[in-house]
Every structure is written in structure tokens, then in C-alpha cells.
Symmetry: C2
Amino acid sequence: MNQRQDLVGQRAPGSRRGKGGDGAERHEIIYRSISDAIIEHRLKPGARLREDALAEVFGISRTGIRKILQRLALEQLVTLTPRRGASVTRPTAEEAHEVFAARQMVECGLMPEVARCVDEASVKTLHELSDQEQKALRKGDHSAAIRHSADFHTCLARLAGNATLAEFVERLCFRSSLILAVYGKPGHLGCETHDHATLITLLKEGRGQEAAVLMGNHLRAVEATLAIVEEDQEAPDLHQIFLS
Amino acid sequence: MNQRQDLVGQRAPGSRRGKGGDGAERHEIIYRSISDAIIEHRLKPGARLREDALAEVFGISRTGIRKILQRLALEQLVTLTPRRGASVTRPTAEEAHEVFAARQMVECGLMPEVARCVDEASVKTLHELSDQEQKALRKGDHSAAIRHSADFHTCLARLAGNATLAEFVERLCFRSSLILAVYGKPGHLGCETHDHATLITLLKEGRGQEAAVLMGNHLRAVEATLAIVEEDQEAPDLHQIFLS
DNA sequence: CCGTCTATTTTTGTATACAACAAGCAATGT
DNA sequence: ACATTGCTTGTTGTATACAAAAATAGACGG
């Protein structure tokens, strides 16, 4: 909230150094702002992200915005169409399946190691995340719920101690959030079950193999709540539609 | 080869449009040029990549180079130090272990699916890659051997039909190449064994589980040939060294 | 009244200019 | 002789200016 005030606002050419935050840090904040907005569905898939508009909102020039958009594009949260600019990625049905298959492989594969590594502090953090998610869900705050769910899975992956794999899982979770936005049925919402809490219990007791199985079922269940069908945008067959 | 001629050379301010290739395509070519040079160890870890120099070499302005460097940084092939510029990433020992652990999980996990998907054409491609690698190895052409080895593993991963996972494997292979450059013993070189050929045979016969086991051993063997020890760069204890 | 062509406007792509920072070097003082 | 400090130089960070390409709207002809 406070940063907002700093970010927007005056940008007299010389006053650049006056800010407390370093330049790179400001970029990081802006990156996260946009990233969060996408993950929390405040920016919906397909939404256009004009450089000029973003530059004005955050009080930096287009150069910085472009850098950030490029980063988001590499993480597949936004799509950069040449000469058309940036928009929030709308995952295809195929991508959706791929992402869930990838999560299935990596997240399940990580469980045994996580079961070996958990300690008191981690369990506490996981519980908090899980509780926050449930609370948000009950309040009907979809944005927060999605955010906490992604955080839960990411946090879990991090416990295995492999930063490379954890980062991969994080990205998959972000993309999952986009998939939910596109293919999720209005009623259902992501990880609504009690699975997360059960998962924590299993891991705490060192039952890694069972945790892996549960995680597998959990991911399959989430994917099953989706209506992953490609609504063909390009070349809708008019003959098929009108001459039937 | 032809593009090379176009890329270097004159860059009269107005001649920008004269090129046959589209702008984005040229960027892709430059990206690949640098990426290849890193993967094939023609640019060694730690090598500095000055924007100005690269801009001149490829005949575009620093803006384009920065974009490319940023992309390479996100793929962890180059490291961007604030105010110090870009250099070829020197993986830490920890990163090295992480990358191999990740490959272990993903590449092995992919084998059953690959065994299900292989067809005649794929087998032929894989054999070619494997042969080229062996040939390069015999000729002592390390660059080509490393390249083909990475291509082999990437191609294999692609066969499973999951582009997301395949891309992840590709990146891991690239990073593995860097790891080899830093921690590889001069004598040994990557995948020197007959494993690749054996792998193809197993997959062709649909023995996915056995292929997974072999892949596991293969990766462990490669990692075992490395001398992964952190040579502490910062703060070498001079007292310890000279006053012993 | 509708379709097409053109002009305008909007938006991105690229280069360059300028300012800030880090590093190396020299000079001076202790 | 050594350390510290200030200057000079090289390199990156940021903004802006300009050019090219879409999208849009308007005019003209059928």
C-alpha cells in the first residue's frame, strides 16, 4: 500500500534517486504486482496489457515495462504477439493437460523426499497456508484462495531442498491458475477439498509414498473439475453451424 | 552460414530494412548463436559478455542484445549482475546436484511414456544423433559431441508428447553442459558410453521400465565422472595458505 | 445502403542519448 | 612504504525520440 504511493506519483527526471528502493527492487515490485494480478484472476486471460498504460500506472518508462513483460512471457503468464503487444496468456487445452501431467510427475515424485525433510516449522507454515486458503474460500474471496493454494503447493515443493525443481513447480502452479481461470466451472474452485490438510498429516508422519498417492489423486481431482475443451476461436466452421 | 555474412558486417543506419529476415527472426538467430556458443563451451563459464561488444558483433543495437541477454539469464545460461553486466553462468556445486536430481526424476519418469510413443522415424532420428555424437567424440570435437548429446536427451524427452516437460528437460540439458564445463575432468567427457544406443534398443522394444532404470544409471554415471567440489572463490584464507 | 479503399491514429519495435554507478589509477598525506 | 582519497574511464540503467505496422474510422463509389 505504501509502495503504491511511491510507485505512482511524481517522476521528475532528477528525483529518480530520491526513492528508498533501488531501481531493480522497484522492478521486482512491479513484476510481482502484475504477476499477482494475473494469478489472482484480477487480470483475466486474454486481457490486453498495453505498454503505455502500464508505464503510466507504475510511473516508469516503457523500457522497464517491456523488460518485465518479457520476463512474464518467458514464464508463459503473458503472450507476446509480434506487433500486437502483450496479453494475459490463454492456455490451450493441450497446454492444460501438459501442465497437469507435469505436476503429476514432479509433485508426486517430490513427496518421499519432502516426507524426509519436513520439520516442525515447515508443518506450521503449511498449516497456516492451508488454513488461510480455507478461510478465503469460505469468505468467497476467490483471488486469495487461488493465491494461497498455489503458495501451498509451491511451499511444499520447496521443502525437498531442490530449488530448480521447486521453481519449476512454482511456474506450473502459476500456469495452473491461468488454466483454472479459463476452464474452471463457475461453481467449483481449485483445491476445495480437505486434501491439503491430509497431505500435511501424512508428510508429518513420514509416510511419503502414501502422500505421493494422495497428491496424485488430488491433482487428478482438480483436473477433473475442469471443463477442458478447446472452444475453437479461429475458423469456426460456419457451414457446420448454420447449414446443419 | 549465409546469415552469418548478413549478421556481421555493415550496419548503415538506413539499411536496417534491407535484410531478408524479419527482425524477430534475426533476434532468434542471434539468441541461438550465443546460446550455442555457451553450450558448446566456446564461451566458458565466467566469460564476460559486454553488451557493446555483442551489439557490434551482431550489428544490432544494445537494446536488442539486452533483450537476448535477459532471456539467456532467465534460462540460467548467463548471470546478470546489477551494474556489472552479463557473464556466462558458473553453476555452483549445489546447482549441479540439483540439475542432475531433476533430470533423474523427469527423464526417468518420461521413459515409460516414450516407450509407448516411439515410432520408426523417431528411432531413426535418435540413432543419427547418437551416431553423430560418437563420431564427434572420436574426432575429438568436444563442442559437437556435447551439442549432440544434449540434443539426444532433448529429442528423447520430446517423444513423450509433453512440450512443457520436454522444454524443461532441454533447459536442464543446457545447464548440464555448463556443469560439465566447470566440473568435468579433462579426460572424461559426458556420455561416453554405449548407453544411448542401448537406450534406443530398449525403447524400441517397448521396455519402458528397463529404459528408465538404464537412464537412471546413465545419469548417475555421468554425474559420477564429475568432480563437483566448490572451489571457494571468495575470501581465500591467505594466512592458511602462506603461513602454514 | 453496403462494401472497399484510404487516411488517421494508436501501439509496438529499435536506436540513441544521457545519467549513474563501479573499477582502476594516480596522487597525496601519514 | 602503505593506505586513503579523488579523479578518470568504461559499462550499464533509463528515458525518449523516431520509424514501421496494425487497427480504426471515414469517405467515396457502386
